[in-house]
Amino acid sequence: MSVINVRQALNDAIREEMEKDESVIIMGCDVALRGGPFGVTLGLLDQFGEKRVRDTPISEPAFTGAGVGAAATGLRPIVEILYSDWLTLCTDQLVNMAAKMRYMFGGKVSMPLVVRAPFGAGGGVAAQHSQSFEAWFNHIPGLKVVAPITPYDVKGILKQAIRDDNPVMFFEHKRSYQIKGEVPDNEDYTIPFGKAVVRREGTDVSIISYSMMSIRAQKAAEELAEQGISCEVIDLRSILPLDYETVMSSIAKTNRVVVTQEANLRGGLASDIVAEIIDRGFDLLDAPPVRVGAPNVPMPYNSGLEKICIPSEENIIEAVHKVLSND
């Protein structure tokens, strides 16, 4: 076991997969020479050469689409869109081609594409660099969507994504690169999609979370424990497919649920999850499910305002109190 950070875990995952399989390539702005603005792809150009590690011009539609076409014709490309906010530029290729080619073309197309798109808020980077669009891609049949946060999960899930023959939206959190965690040495492990993990067991309320919110939820749960409230915290890791079995088993135990997201509340993933929970287990609920999300505003620059716009441990604690209040 070693303790490494998320950035290193990503780097290791990509490198190991590129070593294993010659058809894995990676492209995006600044991924080659500079090693990525977040340092995720450091060293890859030297090891694998220009053909497989490519710096692209600022042409998201073209190079994402090239990734789609390459995936359809024998490569396993990883496309990096530096900020997930810019997915708007290449959404056409992802939604209308990558997600649908296999279906439209009689099942004869393979689409082993991974799109890495750092998401999440913080650091004063303001409205166009702080968004989370997992809800949009959750809506598209044909895609898979994942959002792991711990180094162990990040490595295992990215490897799985690269080996998956479907287009995968891999949402790493842009503020998570320094998060440390244990990762086994010399072990070629992957983590299957659609399997959530219970980060903390509890009996009073289930908190459903993913990515950075799962870390905040665990902190909130610790504080709530001192107030005598026992929280079960679930880290989904995989959004599409989503592990409803774990979610519902937890709710069967606690009968109350809080669903969290970092994105602004309206139209977000939490709403879909809550609707599914009600669909699957209305009679398990002893209280209406509570969602935690950001206010419906574009992310402001000012740090005080930004703080209000990023759901915090306090927001989660408040939500847990609300779901327990029977009001």
């Binding site: 042409s59 689409g65 090239a66 081609m97 279906y103």
Partner: protein, 366 residues
């Protein structure tokens, strides 16, 4: 719904065109890029027969598709390739089997020219399970990925990066294949077109960008949406070669595309080729073209590529009239057989197949 153009009988003919071009003055004014046909020396008789066969087959296919659409046996959207046969067939003839093409919404011609089985194509248009796409794509998404035809798509410009991607695979895996990106004049104004040309150029990828310039983006004439209507000239902006060819002339297309494909295969990078023609029929099967000058349309009929090649082959003595007729009839017959097959021998996709092929390896996520 007013449909002006009649169903065109292929053999209805008033002899036009010969070894030297006999095209009326009016038509020359409308279509100044017409050139006389001349079969290249390196093309064998078998290949020429195949070219003629494919062009006749496409003509028969899309003419019959229109009828079937009006009778509601084929539904949804269908875009006819009538009038553009020379481009699809000429370009695909320059490719090897392993090479790739990407397409537009006007995909029947590309698919057939690349070598897809006509029976399964027709079955797909009928929405049958035995169709190329298992009934899930229809005309709009017709594809035969196994033979390198990477699918028809309704988003203008979406095929461009796909062709780029195929070239990228070839480059990385050392396959030595070339991709042709078929697209229209309308697509050249998409941002992704410029990006794709630039990216292909800077990465020196083996892709040929082939503009099927029929001068109309649905109802909008090119001059109204682009200042520089000589589209091949745009190549200069990306540092690559630009060529223009007579889109009604299958051999002209073939020659230029072959040169570009060979160049790309040798590592010479991308080329931009503009195949200039004019759309004869409406944008899609129910378009009555009320926005067009009917005289213009008549001129196009004079330049009909199928007619031109038939006449040329007979007049140049490459084939006898009987042989030409025989080939044409065989093509028509194959289309009829395909319709028979699709109508009577094929099955509707069962409801259970709804969730098939969304994900790999039979995975279903509801």
């Amino acid at each position: 719904m007013l449909l002006r153009e009649p169903f065109v009988e292929i053999t209805k003919t008033k002899k036009r065109g010969n070894l030297k071009m006999k095209i009326s003055k009016e038509t020359m004014a409308v279509l100044p890029d017409l050139k006389p046909l001349e079969a290249p020396k390196d093309l064998s008789k078998e290949k020429i027969e195949k070219i003629l066969y494919n062009m006749c087959a496409i003509r028969a296919f899309d003419s019959r598709v229109k009828e079937l659409w009006m009778a509601n046996e084929i539904y949804g959207l269908a875009h006819s390739y009538v009038g553009a046969e020379a481009i699809g067939v000429g370009a695909c003839e320059a490719l090897e089997e392993a090479d790739y093409i990407s397409s537009t919404h006007r995909g029947h011609g590309h698919t057939l020219a690349k070598g897809a089985p006509i029976k399964q194509m027709m079955a797909e248009l009928f929405g049958k399970y035995e169709g190329l796409n298992r009934g899930k794509g229809g005309s709009m998404h017709i594809a035969d990925v196994d033979i390198g035809m990477l699918g028809a798509t309704g988003i203008v410009g979406s095929g461009m990066p796909i062709a780029l991607g195929a070239a990228l695979s070839s480059d990385v895996l050392g396959r030595n294949t070339v991709s042709i990106c078929f697209h229209g004049d309308g697509g050249t104004n998409q941002g992704v077109w410029h990006e794709s040309l630039n990216l292909a150029a800077v990465w020196n990828l083996p892709v040929v960008f082939l503009i099927e310039n029929n001068q109309y983006a649905i109802a909008t004439k090119l001059g109204r949406v682009a200042r520089e209507t000589e589209l091949y000239k745009r190549a200069a902006g990306y540092g690559i070669e630009g060529k223009v060819v007579d889109g009604f002339n299958v051999f002209d297309v073939y020659k230029t595309v072959k040169k570009a494909v060979d160049k790309a295969r040798k590592g010479g990078g991308p080329t931009l080729i503009e195949a200039r023609y004019m759309r004869i029929l409406g944008h899609f099967v129910a378009d009555d073209q009320h926005y067009r000058d009917p005289k213009e349309v008549d001129c196009c009929w004079e330049a009909d590529p199928v007619l031109r090649i038939k006449d040329y082959l007979i007049e140049s003595g490459i084939f006898t009239e009987k042989k030409v007729e025989q080939i044409e009839n065989a093509a028509k017959q194959e289309v009829e057989d395909a319709i028979e097959y699709a109508r009577n021998e094929c099955t509707e996709p069962p409801a259970e197949t709804l969730y098939d092929d969304i994900y790999a390896n039979g995975e279903v996520i509801k």
